[in-house]
């Protein structure tokens, strides 16, 4: 991309404010008279709430109100939250998370009551004095054990924790396996924790009795959907609820969900007649923000004698958590990702979704694509080893070639759209990554390092991720009489530079001055429709809408300017905030042009145009644009401690055209860093009875700067034919292959010990244990 501003490394519009401390996050919203909320949370993973005594809490000085389920139910149309993406969910009407515990709690940390007080301190004091009479029940902990016949039920009214089964398949897989010359089987455990944006969740509710309107400020990735849920559960009219998303300190998935805390804060503000703020603390985030968790895989691969994949089949047991917060996307994504960049002619993957007494599972950056990729890449490494073929060579033999694009897979996305890779060249990207890491020279380096008693290894992986989930995200581009350009969008910024991206797109067509463009996002009042930020989608959906809208506005502005300057449109150019007759100093300002179509009472509009210098567009897209990321990394493993150190990490990424290479690099690096966390550090531990064990940052380890490799990022740019900008999403793609590449490298480093890795994350202790078990004394 080579525009004036589009495709350039322009500085971000967001930065000056954030760098000066002028960001406004949800907890920074300070309204006069605000009361502060704390939630009483269930201490048990599974228990019956027999009664609740709020008296001691109400007696604490400074406490304004304490509400439990029975207090709020009269104001609500239903007991539970709606299920997001309900299609295919059994009993979807009643499968959503509880708003407050009614009689049965199903995970530790679930909201039981809200305490509203003058300060958060007092609210916490009082929350400790809300006494529930609990009858603990046996809990379903590990999802694999929860499937056993005598396992405790996660829900007392069912005796089976198997929520549902799904199968994705094509071809004649069993037949292929019965005749294939080579088949290999792997059992794999994978775990991802929660996303942990550095800003936790938060909500501020305010009720205005004059307009009978609730306003909710929330740190959410989906303001418009949040508004619709409040309307639905509280039985209100669209005009009675406004949701505003101020600056968001990171989302990464778990804020793409409407939570009971948001609803309860909005309602409580109305009931107490004062603004109510809830700023989630980190412990609450550990307990109650959704996470991805455990998947137990059995997977088999069948190959021909020359190393061509004939088929893959298997089964995954997926921890679904206590409720269905957001559809059944995760295991579905994992299973549909497995064939990935390869030609897999026959395939079947069964998925068992299992209820446990843990917080619901819902997508975290990558949305189970990392797990699917991990399974396939582990199978590839295993097959390469068994067949005596180089790992890169075996992958290359099976990869879809660039000349075969677009390439249709015999699978559909969760939304029922065909999986068709729109553009790209997997073998080329992989080769570039291998060359960047000197893969073919590594054997010599490895030999030398082993001679020094160091164990280095190299690993590789390629992951594909569908991006730009439709159907649309609206954008309105408007030049006001001031000459300033406003862009309204349903996109939800949460740190991905959305404002800069939108301003670049619009400025490209309207004078090139990004400072003249203000992007309004995250407010349901001026923006009636919006889906928000998820699935690496906003550049494609909102960006394309803004692009088309800006072109429309440009056309109109030139038409009006031509009329005003008595020249033809072809002779005009927009520079900065003015429109010039090319090669002269004759001009009109954007403001004058906008004024001309703003209308003067009684006078005709110039040039016979429609009123208003604006355009609203909803670019429709159903098929996904597939980005992919080829990774090659070199690690050194200390077999005595199990410590892993990165020596280099090369990423070749293809997200089509690059709208701002600086921002895209930042997304790729950050996404890969998240993958490193999942590969080596992050583990949300629970005990057998489903009590969470890691509830602070000393126990749950996020990767820090010294452990992180410097990622060497370069790009292929295969434009997507699916949108006018030729772009693909960038938020998640680089997270996808990391755990696979890192474990491949560790296994390679530990080859002399015969260690085989079939788990992620892999911890130092596990590495030491694996070495010991492969080499019994």
């Amino acid at each position: 991309m080579d525009g004036k501003v589009l495709g350039q490394r322009v500085p971000r519009l967001e930065d000056p404010g954030l760098l000066l401390g002028k960001g406004r996050y949800t907890d920074d919203v300070r309204l006069p008279g605000t009361a502060n909320a704390a939630f009483v949370r269930s201490p048990f993973p599974h228990a019956i709430l027999k009664s609740i005594d709020k008296n001691a809490a109400m007696d604490v000085e400074g406490v304004i109100a304490v509400y439990d389920f029975s207090d709020l139910r009269p104001h609500m149309t239903q007991d539970k939250l709606p299920v997001e993406f309900p299609s295919g969910v059994p009993n979807a009407e009643n499968a959503g998370p509880a708003i407050l515990v009614k009689d049965e709690t199903m995970y530790a940390g679930e909201c039981v009551a809200i305490v509203i007080a003058e300060t958060r301190h007092i609210a916490e004091d009082a929350a400790a004095l809300v006494f529930g009479e609990w009858e603990p029940l046996p809990a379903a902990g590990d999802c694999k054990e929860a499937l056993e016949p005598d396992a405790p039920s996660a829900h007392r009214d069912t005796n089976n924790n198997l929520m549902m089964e799904m199968v994705q398949e094509y071809g004649d897989v069993d037949n292929v396996f019965s005749s294939a010359p080579h088949t290999f089987r792997e059992e794999i455990w994978q775990h991802r924790g929660t996303a942990h944006p550095i800003e936790c969740r938060g909500a501020v509710g305010r009720y205005d009795p004059v307009s009978d309107q609730i306003t909710l400020w929330s740190s959410t990735q989906m303001p418009n959907l949040a508004q619709s849920y409040i309307i639905r559960v509280l039985g209100l009219h669209e005009n009675q609820v406004r949701v505003i998303t101020p600056d968001v300190g990171g989302g990464f998935g778990p804020k793409f969900l409407f939570y009971s805390e948001e609803l309860v804060v909005a309602l409580a503000a109305k009931l107490v007649g004062r603004p109510v703020k809830w700023a989630e603390d980190r412990r609450e985030h550990f307990l109650a923000a959704v996470q991805e968790r455990d998947q137990y895989w059995e997977a088999e691969i069948a190959l021909s004698n020359d190393g061509l994949v004939l088929g893959v089949r298997g089964h995954v047991i997926h921890d679904h958590g206590a409720y269905t917060a957001q559809g059944i996307t995760l295991p579905y994504n994992a299973a549909s990702t497995i064939p990935g960049p390869y030609k897999v002619p026959n395939y079947r993957m069964k998925q068992s979704l299992v209820f446990t007494n843990k917080v619901p599972c819902a997508p975290v950056r990558g949305a189970s694509h990392p797990q699917g990729t991990y399974v396939m890449e582990r199978l590839m490494d295993r097959a390469a080893k068994e067949l005596g073929v180089d790992r890169a060579e075996l992958r290359d033999r099976n990869m879809i070639r660039g000349t075969e694009m677009p390439y249709k897979k015999p699978l559909k996305t969760r939304a029922g759209v065909n999986i068709e890779y729109d553009s790209g060249d997997f073998p080329k990207a992989m080769k570039m990554a291998l060359d960047g890491c000197d893969y073919y020279g590594f054997k010599d380096r490895q030999r030398n390092s082993r001679a020094d008693g160091r164990f280095s290894g190299i690993g590789l992986s390629l992951g594909v991720k569908g991006t730009g989930r439709g159907p649309f995200e609206m954008a309105t581009v408007r030049i006001g009489p001031s000459g300033k350009i406003s862009v309204y969008t349903g996109a939800a910024p949460m740190g991905q530079s959305t404002r800069t991206m939108m301003a670049q797109v619009v400025a490209e067509h309207l004078g090139g001055d990004m400072q003249n463009v203000e992007v309004v996002a995250g407010d349901t009042q001026p923006i009636p429709m919006g889906m928000g930020g998820f699935g690496s989608r906003q550049a494609i959906t909102a960006g394309s809408s803004a692009h088309i809208a800006a072109k429309e506005v440009r056309k109109k502005a030139l038409k009006v300017a031509a009329h005003m300057l008595e020249t033809s449109e072809e002779d005009l150019e927009i520079r900065g905030i003015e429109i010039f007759v090319r090669g002269t100093d004759m001009k009109v300002s954007l403001g004058q042009v906008a004024n001309a179509v703003a209308g003067t009472p009684g006078y005709a509009l110039p040039g016979g145009v429609e009123p208003g210098m604006e355009s609203t567009q909803r670019f429709l897209t159903d098929p996904l644009a597939y980005c992919y990321s080829a990774h090659c990394c070199e690690v050194e493993v200390d077999p005595e401690t199990g410590g892993v150190e990165f020596k280099r990490y090369v990423i070749v990424h293809d997200s089509g055209n690059l709208m701002n290479p600086m921002i895209v690099e930042g997304q790729i690096q950050g996404g890969a860093a998240h993958g490193v966390g999942n590969a080596l550090f992050e583990w949300m531990a629970y005990d057998k009875e489903a009590q969470p064990l890691t509830t602070n940052f000393g126990e749950y380890l996020l990767p820090t700067a010294p452990e992180m490799p410097g990622f060497d990022v370069s790009f292929l740019e295969s434009p997507s034919p699916l949108n006018p900008l030729g772009v693909k999403g960038v938020g998640e793609g680089s997270t996808v292959p990391v755990a696979a590449a890192v474990c491949s490298a560790i296994e390679n480093a530990l080859e002399p010990f015969g260690v085989h890795i079939s788990e992620a994350p892999i911890t130092p202790q596990r590495i030491v244990e694996l070495i010991a078990s492969a080499n019994p004394v």
């Binding site: 301190h121 004091d125 401690t641 202790q765």
Partner: protein
């Protein structure tokens, strides 16, 4: 995650502090705050009174006496880290400080606070254990000295009475040219170690070990000396093999086990890290580079 209600006291002298401690019930002493404050915010502790030592003068100093360092209990880890006196006379403390938390926590954390908190994996108690430090505490009945060997009374429990405060620490120095090393294995830089190990060695002219001290931290309830290793290497010429054999005894230490690191893994790391500390310390003793 906000502190519970409490009364706040900021005495200006040790005597005032001690008198507050001996009259008030359910009190916590606040030094650098890098352990107590998180526990307060998380309400893991719910004291009625906080006695803040930060306003007491003359508790922050580093002095060189004839054969020991005298360090005030409120001396910040940062001041120890950047102290030339420490670096020159107690190089193992200087080295261990590189592993203590992060810049922001070392700016506030104190030596006395670290000892009183007594995390099993903390570096400063390990340095005191290896140096045979003597902890001075003051209570209503005056001052007493506690040899560090007797300082830990249990898991995160020093043998300091509720009405006593740590006032200073005497850290004996080893002679010039001794070998030292402080090594640890942690998941991330600045984390509490899974296992740490310190080693101090003095050699004779032939390179025979004439004096040694070895500790492991993060294994037992408090940092501990491994006297079996000290005895096993006494009089020996050091080598990787000698140290390796001697340190195997660490696999039999009674070790903590939890969800983050198993007993076996800690024992294994104790053997590995103590050997590495000894190898490094021995090399330095031979090189005589301090």
């Amino acid at each position: 995650m906000k502190p519970p209600p409490f009364s706040y006291h900021d005495p200006r002298s040790v005597d005032d502090a001690v008198s507050l401690l001996s009259t008030l019930e359910n009190t916590k002493v606040l030094a650098g705050g890098q352990s107590l404050m998180p526990m307060l915010n998380m309400r893991y502790v719910m004291p009625d009174h906080i006695v803040d030592l930060n306003k007491i003068e003359n508790l922050s100093y580093i002095k060189k006496e004839t054969d020991a360092l005298e360090i005030g209990a409120m001396t910040r880890q940062r001041d120890l880290e950047f102290s030339d006196i420490v670096k020159e006379n107690c190089p193992i403390m200087h080295e261990a400080l590189q592993w203590v938390g992060h810049r922001q926590t070392r700016n506030r954390g104190t030596l006395g606070g670290s000892l009183a908190h007594l995390d099993p994996a903390a570096e400063m108690p390990a340095v005191c254990a290896i140096s045979d430090a003597v902890v001075r505490v003051k209570g209503p009945n005056g001052e007493r000295e506690i040899p560090f060997a007797e300082f830990p009374a249990g898991y995160m429990t020093p043998s300091v009475e509720m009405d006593e405060i740590v006032t200073s620490v005497r850290v004996p120095c080893w002679q010039k040219g001794h070998g030292f090393a402080f090594v640890e294995f942690a998941r991330r830089h600045g984390d509490f170690a899974i296992v740490s190990s310190g080693a101090l060695l003095e050699l004779d002219a032939e390179g025979r070990i004439v004096r040694s001290a070895i500790t492991v931290g993060g294994v037992g309830a408090a940092p501990m000396r491994i006297t079996e290793v000290e005895e096993a290497i006494s009089g020996q010429i050091g080598s990787e093999d000698v140290f390796k054999e001697a340190c195997e005894v660490c696999r039999g230490i009674e070790a903590m086990g939890d969800v983050y690191a198993s007993t076996e893994y800690r024992q294994h790391l104790a053997a590995v890290m103590s050997r590495r500390a000894l190898v490094k310390a021995y090399d330095r003793a031979l090189g005589g580079d301090n």
